[in-house]
């Protein structure tokens, strides 16, 4: 807790980690070209290696708990990912699981390099045309609606209850209808994404605009601030953390919406289309590659919004 580590604990963590990774890697190298399942002794060694890695990470992670630098603080998470990959590789090789069922991580990575051009084209269609366009439209419409709803009590009473009801509706069921209505090209998926991100945006922004401290409102009133000034200097800044919450949530929803939309018809491009087609052909190495591309983009997008949030709402309590 204090930043003083007992030297023994410091070293045993890394030692266990090294030992575990050593065992796993040694097995992978030894079994690289084999075609029969490994013996039970070797499986036991894999188990031991996994235990060593997990225990090692648990110990090592303690040292990073109070690291302020985000890159160094990420080390335990990076180790976890590495451990999972290596263990999966070892287990898949030990049990000789056919690549048509689950491809090994190394195989997926090499496929990713091979088909990267196709996947990048797919990603352009899915992310830029469908997810991003829909996200921008849906979020701005949600923002405008929330502003209107917070201004007019009638809309608050008449529209907002519907927004909360709509948030418990499975939007995927909308996807096939919209694809049939608008066509199989990218605009139909953009509309699905826009609808998906719209309701969280409205509900969150509204909360931010209205959950204002009554004291601040009184202060605005005593300054004789107009409606516009009130929104500019009090309500909108107060809503920013809520808006960013919805924006972050929306990145995930947008990716899922675009990909699911493509399940119901696409013009021969797109990550969702690729995933569906290749899963049907048992080309799971390509499917996993597409998933990696989609998730890397998803994480980057989320990170971008989170970064913007820190820039714009650095004053908020949760960052202090």
């Amino acid at each position: 807790m204090s930043g003083l580590y007992r030297p023994s604990s410091y070293w045993t963590g890394w030692l266990l980690l090294g030992l575990g990774f050593g065992l796993l890697l040694w097995f992978i190298v030894a079994w690289w070209d084999q075609s029969e399942p490994a013996s039970s002794t070797q499986k036991l060694l894999i188990g031991l290696g996994f235990l060593g890695v997990v225990w090692g990470i648990a110990r090592v992670a303690q040292q990073f708990v109070d690291t302020p630098n985000p890159v160094i603080g990420f080390t335990p998470a990076a180790l976890t990912l590495l451990a999972l990959m290596v263990t999966a590789e070892a287990l898949l090789r030990a049990y000789q699981v056919p690549p048509g069922l689950i491809p090994t991580p190394s195989r997926v990575l090499s496929t990713l390099l091979e088909v990267r051009d196709v996947l990048l084209q797919d990603a352009f269609q899915t992310v830029v045309l469908e997810a991003l366009v829909g996200y921008l439209i849906g979020c701005s419409l949600g923002l405008i609606t929330a502003l209107l709803v917070s201004r007019y009590v009638f809309l608050e009473r008449g529209l907002l209850p519907y927004a909360t009801i709509f948030s418990s509706i499975p939007i995927v069921a909308l996807a096939p209808v919209l694809v049939k209505m608008i066509g199989i090209d990218w605009p139909s998926k953009a509309v699905i994404v826009a609808v998906t991100v719209f309701f969280p945006m409205v509900v969150n922004t509204f909360r931010g605009l209205t959950e204002v401290s009554p004291l601040s409102l009184d202060l605005m009133r005593s300054y004789a601030a107009g409606e516009v000034q009130q929104y500019r200097w009090l309500r909108l800044p107060n809503a920013l953390p809520f808006i960013f919450n919805a924006l972050k949530l929306g990145t995930t929803l947008a990716m899922i919406g675009a990909i699911v939309g493509e399940f119901f018809g696409a013009n021969g491009q797109g990550l969702g289309f690729r995933i569906q087609i290749e899963a049907g052909r048992f080309g799971f190495d390509i499917v996993w590659s597409a998933i990696i591309v989609a998730s890397v983009i998803g994480i980057a997008w989320y990170g971008l919004v989170a970064w913007l949030e820190r820039r714009l709402t650095g004053w908020h309590v949760s960052f202090r």
């Binding site: 992670a61 998470a77 008449g158 096939p176 959950e211 990716m255 998933i291």
Partner: protein, 303 residues
């Protein structure tokens, strides 16, 4: 029961939407009908205006078509192709998925609250698992589980749980961290053990957060179950009906199924609401501000 002040405005909005529906429907369908007439398709109507309500694949179905569609898909109630039984199957998968998600979510949440090392090592990947299109993994997961003899509703429940565990994890973790530091200090002065702190302070404090998380997770689980049914071979469920009618281009049926799944979603969330009221009666009488993240519907009007 008190009549909500929202009732009249809500009804007005609903009426406006309904009144706008007819003109919109004609506006959307007449060009399609005109094109169909121009190509000389055999239609049981003369003018584009008449045909707008009778298209086989309308852009917006007419109320009459929707009504007939409901009649066709609802009855007979026990038919394997009717909505009731399929909706029940999907609801079952969703609820089982939610329960699985609750177990996993609690595990991660307690781990994260108890150990910062655990949080450092796993939280980025728990968040990342949500930015991944989890839905894409569904077909593979089903093939995989099928290899080991897990078939039918269980794979769908697992996929539902996969999507739903995240809101539960975050909600429960937030709830477990929510007790006042003063209250935690008090537990310490009473010399309470770790377990006692959890049982007597942290768990009760997390209840409001828990039900909010369950409501979000219920919708997520329903989406997961439907997508799992769509993207895998399944013989029952709302998702299977959607996929089938999408392939058959039966637009009216798709509208009907969409509306029914909306009703199903509302009912499932209402079930959580009802459970919340049943299990936490003290929250109704106490001040509304008991939980900072009140469900939106309660929080909206307090401002």
């Amino acid at each position: 029961m008190r009549i909500s002040p929202n009732l009249v405005p809500m009804l007005v909005v609903a009426l406006v939407v309904l009144a706008l529906y007819w003109p919109l429907m004609y506006l959307a369908n007449i060009p399609v009908a005109q094109r169909a007439l121009d190509t000389g398709a055999a239609l049981p109507c003369e003018t584009a205006f008449e045909c707008a309500t009778q298209l086989r694949s309308p852009v917006l179905p007419s109320p009459q078509q929707l009504w007939n569609g409901f009649g066709n898909l609802m009855f007979p109630l026990n038919s394997p192709n009717a909505i009731p039984i399929n909706a029940a199957v999907t609801a079952f998968e969703t609820v089982v998925g939610l329960l699985l998600a609750a177990v996993v979510g609690f595990f991660f949440a307690i781990g994260m609250v108890a150990s910062r090392a655990f949080e450092r090592a796993l939280l980025p990947w728990i968040v990342a698992s949500q930015t991944v299109p989890i839905i894409a993994i569904a077909p593979m997961l089903v093939v995989l589980l099928g290899q080991y003899g897990v078939q039918g509703w269980l794979p769908k429940a697992i996929i539902a749980a996969y999507i739903a565990f995240f809101p539960i994890t975050i909600g429960v973790a937030k709830g477990l961290k929510s007790p006042d530091p003063m209250a935690l200090d008090l537990m310490k002065t009473y010399n309470a053990s770790h377990w006692q702190t959890y049982l007597k302070l942290r768990f009760p404090a997390s209840v409001p957060y828990l039900f909010t998380a369950f409501k979000v997770a219920m919708t997520a689980a329903l989406i997961g179950a439907i997508v799992a049914e769509i993207s895998t071979i399944s013989f029952q469920g709302i998702g299977k009906m959607l996929a089938e009618n999408s392939r058959a281009s039966d637009v009216v049926a798709m509208w009907v199924i969409m509306l029914s799944s909306a009703v199903l979603g509302i009912l499932l969330v209402a079930l959580v609401n009802w459970l919340e009221r049943l299990l936490t009666p003290w929250r109704r009488t106490g001040p509304v501000a008991a939980g900072p993240s009140r469900p939106a519907r309660e929080g909206v009007h307090s401002a």
